[in-house]
Symmetry: C2
Subunit: 136 residues, 2 copies
């Protein structure tokens, strides 16, 4: 019972991934998606792994990586068997950057939770609190 997988069109991908159609087209335009070709009518057809890919993109992006950087990684992934030391070094550098980021995030967390506990102690002191600044 093997039925032909129906071609995933951009609308379906958008709905399932939660991203706007426009954004997906944009990602495709700048070469992040390696679309699985087009239909006869010229519609983009996407492979099954597009969701993994989109997930990766969004995750990386939300962590401060640019789409250009993301693209590099994806290219490495796509032609995975090209261990040129040039790119390998670049990847290793990126990994170090990421580890630094993790540490920075942990520091930031400390700082913010410092704000919070500072507050809490203030709350304890003042026993009641009203916020005089509510903007928007």
């Amino acid at each position: 019972m093997l039925t032909e997988a129906p071609p995933k069109l951009i609308g379906a991908v958008a709905k399932k991934s939660g991203l706007p159609v426009k954004t997906i087209r944009y990602y495709d335009e700048i070469g992040l998606l390696k679309t699985a070709g087009r239909t006869e009518g010229g519609y983009r057809v996407f492979a099954g792994d597009v969701f993994t890919r989109l997930g990766f993109i969004r995750r990386a992006q939300s962590l401060g990586l640019t789409l250009a950087e993301v693209k590099e990684f994806l290219e490495v992934h796509d032609q995975g068997d090209l261990p040129c030391s040039h790119i390998q070094v670049k990847l290793e550098e990126k990994l170090i950057e990421i580890e630094e980021k993790i540490q920075q995030l942990q520091l930031l967390r400390q700082e913010l939770s410092g704000l919070l506990t500072g507050w809490q102690s203030t709350v304890a002191k003042t026993d009641e609190a009203i916020c005089p600044i509510i903007e928007s």
Copy 2:
């Protein structure tokens, strides 16, 4: 032997922090810096904690926070004794986000180092490697 601290002008801050003068002015403009007033001639004068502040800004920013978010945190810090639950909740949410980010970074690290080890095994297999794609 208490001498008056000399007023830190923007150029000195730029030099010491490594940021361009323009950027610092920009940060001031959007309210990130709470400059310690101006000289008679209209020059910005910065307090000693400006470097801590700039450090915080850059760190947070490099982790994907917007300057608007950074600004919120700094405002909390500046008027630290306002434990209004509205903002407190916001901060807690941010903390959770940050913890998620840490996890995502760890995932990303895994993925990237997966690329790397994938490579390494390929290297082991092919024993020699040349990179056919050197762009720029």
